[in-house]
Each structure stands twice: as C-alpha cells, then as structure tokens.
C-alpha cells in the first residue's frame, strides 16, 4: 500500500530530517510511528500525500510514485487519503456540518448523498447532534474527532494522522485512538504518528520507531 525506499528529506538550508528511510505498510495495517519530536515523524507522514517531496528516494502509494507525481495529479491522490493534521486545520467560519461538506463538494457528489455521508461520518466519531455547532464551541477532543470525521468522509483507503492525541487528556486521547482502531477493523490502512509510547503499547499493534531521521526499530504486531 505504502512503500518508502531510501528516502532522504532535507529542508532548504537545513539538516537532513529523514536519512535513508525504507519501510513498507501493507493494506489493512494499523501502524504507530513513534519517536521524539524532531525525529522526522511529521515529515515522514507529509511525504505520503505529497505535501512535501523527498530530496532523494521514492515514495510509492497505491502503486503510484508520489515523489514524481505531476502537481495536477496531487489533488486526486489526496482524495484517496484521509488526513488528520497536527493543527487540525478546521474552519471556524462555518458549522461542524459545513466543515464536513468541504471535501465532499470537491467530488461533485449529489447534495442528498453528501449530506448522508456527512452524517454517517459524524455518527462514527460520536458527534451526531453537533452539526450546527461552530467548531470553536467543541472541546479539544471533539475538535480532534471532527478532524477525523473530515478525513474519512470521502471513505479513503488510507487514514494518516499526525499527533492526534497531543494536547488531549488521557480519556479523550483514548477515545480518539479507539476511533482509529475501529476504522482499521473495517479494513482501512491507518498510520498514526505519536510520541506517547505508553498509549501505543496498550494496543499491541505494529510500531515504527524513528530517531534522528532513521527507522531504528520495527516492532511487528
């Protein structure tokens, strides 16, 4: 599903953030990417939807060489990936419901079908009934769940989340992780970056440990 081979990433004028990362994630896997901040977790995840491009090496997603993708093809790659951003990137000028309608509008879905999907996504993350609220009125955990709902509303095969439990209390964090586990159980490939090792160990899934831009440990499920 996702494969990296000898991927290097250097930001302009900076150090190498990734130094020869090679890994493979199969369809239907649930993988936690751990490591201290600055280890390269975020960069690793950003290479998959081509938000960043590798300086060297290749990234292949679903058979497509993402590192060589034309800019005009990138939107279609991203539609097949569910992305949960570290800073969530919710829009606070519109309701919870309209936040979900945004990705649905790109694909030109009929309004009835779009509404149905939005409600289904809200239901999955336990936010049904909050459609009319503004995201600012939601708690931190609820905002994170809304971000997840927006990522999955187009039914992607891959879900990628960068530090989804940062700034959440233990209870909210666990609730968020359980949502990822539930999606994985229905066949979605899930990649979650987190620095919270204690939380990760509880699930007994595959763990990739990054340190200084290299994979130092690959613990299978």
């Amino acid at each position: 599903m996702i494969s990296f081979s000898s991927v290097f990433k250097r930001y302009r004028g900076g150090q190498d953030v990734l130094r020869g990362v090679s890994l493979k994630v199969g369809a239907g896997e649930l993988v936690f990417v751990t490591g201290q901040s600055g280890a390269g977790k975020s960069t690793l995840l950003k290479l998959i939807p081509a938000i960043e491009r590798p300086s060297a090496g290749t990234v292949i997603v679903n058979g497509q060489n993402v590192s060589a993708l034309k800019p005009s093809a990138i939107p279609f790659l991203r539609r097949n990936l569910g992305l949960v951003f570290q800073d969530q990137k919710l829009l606070y000028d519109r309701s919870v419901f309209d936040n979900l309608m945004l990705p649905l509008s790109f694909s030109g879905l009929a309004p009835k079908e779009a509404t149905r999907r939005a409600r289904a996504a809200l239901d999955k993350v336990g936010l049904l009934g909050r459609e009319k609220a503004n995201p600012i009125q939601l708690s931190g955990g609820e905002q994170q769940r809304l971000a997840i709902a927006r990522a999955v509303v187009n039914r992607p095969a891959v879900l990628i989340a960068d530090e989804p439990t940062a700034n959440l209390d233990a209870e909210a964090a666990q609730r968020v992780l359980e949502i990822f586990v539930a999606f994985n159980q229905v066949g979605v490939t899930v990649l979650v970056a987190t620095h919270d090792m204690a939380l990760v160990r509880r699930y007994g899934t595959r763990v990739l440990r990054l340190a200084a831009g290299q994979v130092t440990e690959d613990v299978p499920a």
């Binding site: 939107p75 879905l109 927006r150």
Partner: protein
C-alpha cells in the same frame, strides 16, 4: 458532466453569496467600474447624437456655385452650358434668386426676416452633384469654377463632410482611448478586490488544497466573482448613461424646440449596450484571473 455542472453552479452561487454578503466592498468596486465605464459609454452616446445631427445638414457632398449679384441671365446660361459639358458633373440644378428667396421663407424662424427685406439679397446659384464623390475631384472643380469672372463664391460641401467625418473619427478615437485607459484601471480594481477576497479566505483555500481540491475548483468562485462584479459595473454604467441622457434631453428638447427641431440624444443601440456589459464582465474576469493566478500560487500549505 453533471458533477461539472454542479461545480459551476456551486461556484456561481458562492460568488453571488459573496457579492451579496460583502455588501459594501463588492458593491463599491462595482460602483467604481460603473462610474468609470459610464464616461466612455456616455461620451459615445453624445458623439453619435451630435454626428447624426450634423450629418443631417450635409449628408450628400455637393458643390454650390453662387454667381455675382450683377451677373446677367446670359452669364448664367453660359455657365450652365459649360457645366453640362463637363464630364465630372453628374447633375446640375439651377436655383434662380427668386426661388432661393422662397426657399428661405419656408425655413423655420426666417420668414419674418425675409419679409422685412426690401429687396432680394440672394444671387443666382447652381447646385452641382459630381459624378465622383471623391472630395479631391470636387475640390479641383470648385477651384476651377472660382476662377470664372461671373462667379462670386463656390462652396464645396465635400470639405464640410470631410471635416465632419474626420472630427467624428477623432471623437471616436478619443472615446476609445479613454475606454482603453479605464479598462486598465478596472482590471486593477478587480485584481485588488479579488486579492483581498483570496486573503480573507486563505484558511479555506489552504485546507481545500490539502484535502484534494483541484486548482480549477478553488479558482472558479473567484473568477465568477470578478465576472459578476464587472457585469454589475457594466449594468450600472448603462444606468448612469441612461439617467444622464434623460437629464440632458429634458434641456436639449427645450433648446431644440427654439430651433424648430425635435432633436434629442438617443440611448446606446442595443448592440452597443450589450457590448458595454460584455466588456465590463470580461474586464472583471480578466482582473480576477490575473489575481487568482498570482495569489493562489502563493498559498502552498505545509
């Protein structure tokens, strides 16, 4: 196909919503466009009115030959024979002085003046239609006739028509130049309003790019916004011209009546009015597309 149409409908609705939602901002831009465009459009309407008024006076270029007041009937007959023999002359009409006076009496407002005269001050005259409408031929003929002893004065209307035509051309060119200059200004106005709109929607654009919106999708509502703003400006310009001409005409009618004329300025022809609207809409679209090209590229989410 249906998805594509739905995208366009959504973009149009979003643009309409923005135009209505901004109230002040978008409407002020449309007002600027309208006022600016009303200048060349109104100038054009005035010019066309004046040209049609003047054109009615000297529609067909002709040469008028006035004989000296003391010229005899024999002199007139000699000249008539000479003119008929000239290959350049297509037709000659002799206007005896008595007939000229009668014609003058028939003119608006002059009958009193004519009645007050104690003798006929008008000379005999020939009105010549040349075979060739070329003003050079007419001028050459007029020059020759001026040299004859019995002729007092020759008037070549071709010159008149020529001057009028070149004045009209000059006026049209000035209007066109004005329109071209203002067009640049209008593109700049739209460029700027769309830029501001892009900046206020920066978050939405950034998120949309991140989760799979194509550039065309993101661009579309802004292009429609520019188009609609231009179109609104065009309609406003026509409204200003219409209202302005209406005000002018109420005075022009009074003035024209004193000359016994029913002249008034006509509104732009339907085709011209349509052209103004399309022109304004096109400028709006152009300004928006330049702005979008410049600023949407800048937004590259990380």
């Amino acid at each position: 196909m249906r998805a594509w149409l739905r995208h366009h409908r959504m973009a149009l609705r979003a643009a309409l919503g923005k135009l209505a939602g901004q109230k002040a901002g978008g409407m002020i831009s449309a007002l600027v466009i309208g006022v600016a465009l009303s200048l060349p459009a109104g100038g054009y309407a005035l010019l066309e009115g004046l040209v049609s008024l003047a054109g009615g006076v000297a529609l067909e270029p002709q040469v008028s030959v006035f004989l000296k007041a003391d010229a005899s009937k024999a002199d007139a007959d000699k000249l008539a024979a000479r003119l008929k023999a000239d290959p350049r002359v297509g037709g000659v009409r002799f206007v005896p002085r008595e007939e000229a006076l009668k014609e003058l009496q028939g003119e608006d407002g002059l009958s009193d003046v004519v009645a007050a005269l104690d003798r006929n001050p008008l000379p005999d005259a020939f009105v010549i239609r040349t075979r060739d409408a070329n003003p050079q031929v007419q001028n050459a003929l007029a020059q020759e006739l001026r040299g004859l002893p019995s002729v007092s004065h020759v008037q070549a209307d071709a010159l008149w028509a020529q001057r009028l035509a070149s004045l009209a051309r000059l006026g049209r060119l000035a209007v066109l130049l004005l329109a071209a200059l203002l067009a640049f200004g209008l593109v700049a106005v739209t460029f700027n309003t769309i830029r501001l709109q892009i900046l206020t929607q920066r978050d939405e654009i950034e998120v949309s790019k991140l989760i799979g919106a194509t550039d065309a999708y993101i661009r579309r509502p802004f292009l429609y916004l520019g188009l609609l703003q231009g179109l609104a400006g065009g309609v406003l310009a026509l409204g200003i011209v219409w209202g302005g001409l209406g005000l002018l005409n109420s005075e022009v009618r009074v003035l024209a009546q004193t000359y016994g004329s029913s002249f008034e300025f006509g509104f732009l022809a339907r085709g011209d009015a349509l052209a103004v609207m399309l022109f304004a809409a096109g400028l709006g679209w152009l300004g928006a597309s330049l702005s979008v090209r410049r600023y949407l590229l800048e937004i590259q989410p990380k």
